[in-house]
């Protein structure tokens, strides 16, 4: 702690020395930074807009209500089965990942001995960096071949959930750790027991953080292709149970895009991309709204 303070003091010292220059030049530099640093947004978002425009331009002319409500019929039809498949995969994976992630996060923040907690957090960061293709490989060998299930919704969801766990784990850990000490002390001083404090005080405060993690994990799971192709497989019809293969939107893009353009599936690839992007935007806006809602409600708790 003292070392850190020394560094900080040196930084301020250095700042004083640097500030001795000409005032006008310094203000100009500040202004250049203020507006110059906006340039990267243009660099990053111009291509994004180009991408979104291209997808919409290709998808919308043939987009009808039936695209959403119809199953695939032969080499045409709609995305109904894929939307259901994506929803079920994401719902299952999110449920599993949330159970595991919150339990591990809560335990890390509240109960685990410091050494264990440190190890858990490091491992959580590592798990977030494990390439999806490696998880897909693992899922194929374990959940498709070794178990003898074949391609199944459950296998796909389990593989996805491992991809999602670290995001929920880390946000839950952060959220529970960030509960102000004053709240804890107040609760404990009132004679509350540990679980009462956790359930009635800590959880409501932690919920926005946990939700952030859950929704972020959902968005990431929605966009994955590689781990699903070799675990959830593919099917023309809507899934019939946990042990049937299923179709999903990213797979529709992947598979239909490589079909000959003149037989009808090609157009569905772009419509699937469009639907998926709309879903991602919706989830992101929800995330912001939820975060904002809680930020307002909890204003004053943090300062």
């Amino acid at each position: 702690m003292t070392a850190a303070l020394a560094t900080d003091a040196a930084a301020v010292d250095d700042l004083v020395r640097a500030s001795a220059g000409h005032m006008r030049r310094r203000l100009l530099l500040d202004r250049v930074a203020r507006y110059g640093l906006l340039l990267p947004f243009v660099v990053v978002f111009f291509p994004l807009i180009d991408l979104l425009y291209w997808i919409s331009e290709t998808a919308l002319p043939t987009f009808t209500w039936a695209t959403l409500t119809q199953d695939q019929i032969g080499n045409g039809g709609g995305l109904h089965a894929m939307i259901i498949g994506t929803a079920v995969l994401i719902a299952l994976a999110t449920t599993i990942a949330t159970l595991i992630g919150i339990a591990a996060g809560l335990y890390t923040a509240e109960y685990a001995p410091p050494a264990i907690a440190r190890l858990g957090r490091t491992a959580g960061n590592v798990l977030a960096g494990v390439p999806a293709i490696v998880l897909g490989f693992w899922g194929y060998f374990l959940l498709v071949i070794y178990t003898g299930w074949g391609y199944t919704v459950l296998g796909g969801a389990l593989t996805l959930s491992i991809l999602m766990v670290p995001f929920i784990y880390r946000t839950s850990d952060l959220a529970f750790s960030a509960v102000p000490a004053s709240q804890r002390e107040a609760a404990l001083a009132m004679g509350a027991r540990r679980y009462q404090f956790l359930g009635r005080i800590a959880l409501p405060i932690a919920i926005p953080g946990i939700l952030t993690g859950v929704i972020l994990a959902m968005a990431i799971g929605l966009g994955e292709t590689a781990p699903l192709i070799y675990t959830a497989g593919w099917a023309n019809v809507p899934l019939t149970g946990l042990f049937s293969p299923t179709s999903y939107l990213t797979g529709a893009i992947w598979l239909f895009y490589s079909q000959p353009p003149d037989i009808g599936l090609y157009a569905l690839a772009f419509q699937a991309a469009f639907v998926l992007i709309v879903m991602v935007v919706a989830i992101n806006v929800t995330l912001q709204a939820v975060a904002e809602h809680y930020r307002r409600r909890l204003r004053g708790l943090f300062s």
């Binding site: 032969g74 923040a109 178990t147 299930w149 391609y151 000959p260 353009p261």
Partner: protein, 413 residues
């Protein structure tokens, strides 16, 4: 503000080490996690027993079946056309095809995770026997060589197997190479650098094309297969549609593309070559040795190869490489030489296969698999359905072989 008496102060402690209290909550969280783990384990076990124990017995009372297929992306759209029509004939049978790749189709059939495995490349008879599988061809497909060379005076260049192999091996690097010029007398060829494209993903097209090169040129090294160690620096593209797109944006490029993509490649302004037969590898200058991929010529290749096989087998690539007199007509199946019975066989043709088990786990379902395949190679194979993906109907010899092979499948317990 002392930080406890014995806990060492560290960043970690300040974040994680709230007042700990032994209590029911610890056990509560533990129990919750334990339940989650048990549920997961139950899921695993349940799935296992559902697959192993319940599925076979469940088939006895109900009459509704779903036949699953996975594999080749080339067969996928064709099966999509067949499936609804078959279901309208047999309302209790649904067919669910999946385009996951030929390798996945073979793997699925071997592991028994699907009822049918679709593949563009045959499964070696020895391997098939090991897993009790049979190769059931359901259609004839072929492969075209496209190039991006606008402004030529002819609509189809003449290219033979030797030239193609040398192009991909890097031995021919410019379009006005004497060997290409010799095959195309009177055509003014530019000195543009040739950029040969290949498929990056595992592909039956790569299998066929490398077979053609392997058979046609002695300098070809590295064998043939669904993947190949290409000469360094050549661009690879994902899928046939990737090849069409890539070739479109590569002036001077050349690529092998499945015939299903004929329309989209032509729409992109690409042209395809007339391929040399075996004689062209010896006498490349004779225009009569170059064959266009018309349906008649493709069928001739199929007939030529399949009628002459000794012993009969359908596990072959119908590639006419090599030189006349050589005995390497077919790969995998063995066979004899073609005769002059069919004068213009297109040399780069293949069969599309469905792999099924002869000793299925669920014979009553397998009965419908057999019924479906019998239908798919006979009355189901209507001209419009085949034409929409540019496939051709099987020859009578292959249908006869299929029917015989299908009769060996165990369809009752």
């Amino acid at each position: 503000m002392s930080n406890g008496t014995n806990a060492p102060p560290s960043m970690n402690d300040s974040l994680s080490d709230g007042p700990k209290r032994r209590g029911r909550a610890v056990i509560g969280v533990g129990v919750a996690v334990a339940i989650a783990v048990v549920l997961l384990a139950a899921g695993f076990a349940g799935g296992y027993f559902l697959e192993k124990g319940l599925a076979p017995s469940g088939g006895s009372s109900t009459t509704s079946y779903t036949i699953t297929e996975t594999g080749s992306t080339l067969i996928y759209p064709y099966l999509n056309l067949l499936a609804p029509n078959f279901t309208s004939l047999y309302p209790n049978v649904a067919i669910s095809p999946a385009g996951t790749g030929s390798g996945a189709g073979i793997s699925g059939a071997e592991q028994g995770t699907v009822n049918m495995g679709g593949t563009d490349a045959y499964l070696l008879p020895s391997v098939a026997a090991q897993y009790n599988l049979i190769n059931v061809p359901i259609a004839i497909s072929s492969q075209l060589v496209f190039y991006n060379l606008p402004g030529l005076s002819v609509s189809h260049l003449n290219l033979n197997g030797t030239v193609l192999a040398m192009i991909w091996a890097g031995a021919i690097s410019q379009w006005n190479n004497p060997l290409i010029q010799a095959a195309n007398p009177g055509v003014s060829l530019p000195s543009t650098t040739i950029t040969p494209l290949h498929r990056s993903d595992g592909s039956g097209d790569t299998f066929m094309f490398t077979s053609l090169c392997y058979l046609s040129w002695k300098g070809w090294s590295g064998g043939y297969g669904t993947t190949y160690s290409w000469k360094a620096g050549q661009p690879g593209y994902q899928g046939n549609s990737g090849m069409v797109t890539g070739l479109h944006s590569t002036p001077g490029g050349i690529a092998y593309i499945g015939i299903s993509y004929l329309q989209s490649a032509l729409a992109d302004g690409l042209q395809y070559a007339a391929l040399g037969d075996q004689a062209a590898n010896v006498n490349g200058a004779n225009p009569a040795n170059y064959i266009l991929p018309t349906p008649a010529n493709i069928s001739q290749d199929a007939n030529l190869a399949l009628q002459n096989l000794q012993p009969p087998s359908v596990a072959i690539s119908l590639i006419l490489g090599g030189v006349p007199g050589a005995t390497n007509l077919v790969l995998g199946g063995g066979g004899t030489l073609p005769t002059a019975q069919y004068p213009t066989p297109y040399p780069d043709t293949n069969l599309e296969y469905i792999l099924i088990s002869t000793h299925p786990a669920n014979p009553s379902l397998q009965k419908y698999v057999v019924v479906f395949l019998q239908w798919a190679i006979s009355t189901g194979a209507t001209a419009p359905r085949l034409a929409s993906v540019n496939f051709l109907p099987l020859t009578p010899e292959v249908i006869g072989y299929d029917m015989q092979a299908l009769s060996s499948v165990q369809v009752s317990a």
